[in-house]
Subunit: 237 residues, 4 copies
């Protein structure tokens, strides 16, 4: 059965306003669909009422549970964000805060969080600068929640230093580097998703916890102030 | 055949001085060796004369080529760093600068860089704060050079805010969280390395480049200043 | 007249729920008030409906304009955030996105943005790790919008690696390092705010723009692909 | 007396090789010198043997002490770096590691570190992306060591996503945004340096330490594991 790709677009612009980040997602999706036969789904986070918090359901009016269901249903998760002052958007950060709730939804048999055995990637647009930091942040968060990150799992377009046209106006879709990273990301995430579909990660996190607890102390008493004095002037690491 | 793990320790302390980062690497290596039967190799970068630059051989006196050979020989690459002012050490950054040279060592048949099909992870120690940023930076760089990053591929110990004892003095080896992440990282990197040993990534980067070039323009002319004016006051992404 | 301090608390918890970030702000405020005689004001961003976007007023229902008025009224701006997965909270990022709107509110005489001549600082709490990155992000954003950042302008508490008690439960208020940074931040921001009250930054950004435009081209044509080929294998910077 | 500016160029290229980062420094220096009458000094870190470590003198062969003297002699410190994989160069990180040694060189009367009352700024060049992160890192480190960061204290040039020509080849010196930030940085750092020359920061860090110690405990005992369990499922901050 064909793998499913979910693009989580974290633009601040509500549908149907045109989003540069969505435009790049579309270009990526076209490769997933036409060249690899995968199905692509799109979520624009700002269209939902995603309440602040770190649990999977923050109560009345919270529309995160619907997004979370679609995340759980996907095989490849692409978090797509515009860049604001060098960081992922507030909506992308909100997504990761809410995914913290999945830590407590471990599988009863092996403790694996719901995003285990999925594959993660990053799509980023900005008028300028910040894509490296956004890509590493997206990939790191997804990896923490259980995703595998294959090589080349980021695709972005940014213009040169300072304000300027964004992806659509600058015809970023004709930019060689962006197209190269787009195709690499698609090829490698598809391969990895198929591999993990046939070979589930066998790690039992409940056993990990048990073994870790057995070699750890229950409490720690450290005299931080005197320790600090003793170590002053000495290399710390 | 048993997979090989390489720990690249980026401490500023030369051998045989005691290194907290090495101490945590030892604890990680013990699990790789005793519980999974893998062989572990250790490099302390500061013991080598690694010249500044971004090519694989920077000429007379450069000892990076020896390190690079051992990197190419490994299946799992763990970059281990102490934290300095919230960032990876200068020696860790040097390693990534030198790995830029591998971009021009693509396989003649499929263009894959030499780190493709390897698995990456991060080990971090600090008296305090900065591990998240270091982990995401290490993983992102390794991913860019070709490594796959499985879930939970970071293990660290840090104390609370401010100066204090480091891993050895604080008995970080008895810290539950560190031990949990240690065991998760080992289990998941071993699984992924075995998987990739049997299933090489098929992506042909030469074909990717060809297709990307075909859909891209050779040059771009943009009037950045007027574009900036036109867009002022409008959401950019 | 006494300087005014504004704490912008970016916790996801609505009032009156107890906030660890607020608890540390209270401890900082006590020094501002009792030892320096300044007045402190507190905003909990989550209590307001701050719409996504990058303009100063995003229309119907947007309560950012009220927050912005209080920001403009303050002399010292402290952005306070909990840490989530090593990053500032989504509410803190939202604050910075909305402050982008101030770029277009330059003074008609000298072009200075409304946050010019104010002083910035950062307060951070987390159960663990990430304070350095959050501090640098907060300070950088505030600096971009016009604030001056004096030395030691960050104060934080975090526990050791992994989950654990936060500021209140861990009695972070008795932590030496946190108290040292608290007092340094207060002393240096008060000094700088008084200095800037008597000595306004004279830079005329309209003249800067004019001179910059005179030495710049209107448009740039670069053949990125051939440039890339020419440069391959050579150090880039 | 005229203020002195020190540019610390962290390029990996030894003199007299052409450095893009130096080229942008030259353009910045021209404004400092011709329009404000300041004297500019340049250090290319790679020309010195700066040993790894975190003390001000790491012994035989270490040439950091000479750099440190010139840093102490300057009023405005500009750390200039090329970007590598989104981070400051290994030589820039080395500079910050070595500046850790200044923490133990506090003034006997007020405890202030040697960089107190100086002004900091950042110059960054890259073929692409990463300037925001580099700027915030440079500014944060300088602030930690005692520098004040006025608004707009970063100047950079980067091209669009992916490889391409760097500052010199791309004629970055004609880029409007870079020139705007260049002139803003110069104007604001000059103003702040003159202000601090006449108004030294009065904070007594020895008194700060004393007061902080008086309100802090000597040691902390926390049962991290049970604390973690108690808090599970609850918002942490």
């Amino acid at each position: 059965m064909a793998q499913k790709v979910l693009f989580i677009n974290c633009t601040p612009k509500k549908s149907p306003e045109e989003s540069n980040t969505r435009a790049l997602c579309n270009d990526v999706a076209e490769v997933y669909e036409k060249e690899y036969g995968l199905r692509c789904d799109f979520i624009r986070v700002v269209d939902f009422n995603v309440l602040p918090g770190i649990e999977s359901d923050m109560g009345k009016g919270d529309e995160w549970p619907e997004i979370l269901e679609r995340i759980k249903d996907a095989d490849i998760i692409i978090v797509a964000t515009p860049i604001w002052i060098g960081n992922i958007s507030s909506l992308a950060q909100r997504v990761f805060e809410r995914l913290e709730g999945t830590y407590s939804e471990g599988d009863p048999d092996n403790g694996q969080y719901p995003l285990y055995n999925k594959v993660g990637g990053a799509v980023i647009t900005g008028t300028e600068d910040g894509a490296h930091f956004c890509a590493k942040t997206i990939q790191f968060c997804l990896m923490r929640f259980g995703c595998t990150i294959p090589p080349g799992a980021d695709c972005y377009w940014v213009g040169p230093a300072g304000p300027g046209p964004s992806y659509i106006a600058a015809e970023g879709g004709r930019h060689l580097y962006t197209n190269r990273t787009k195709r690499t990301m698609v090829a490698n995430t598809v391969f990895m998703a198929e591999l993990l579909a046939k070979n589930r990660i066998p790690t039992n996190l409940l056993e990990v916890e048990e073994k870790a607890a057995a070699e750890s102390t229950e409490s720690i008493e450290i005299d931080w102030r005197s320790a600090s004095k003793k170590e002053s002037g000495k290399p710390k690491n």
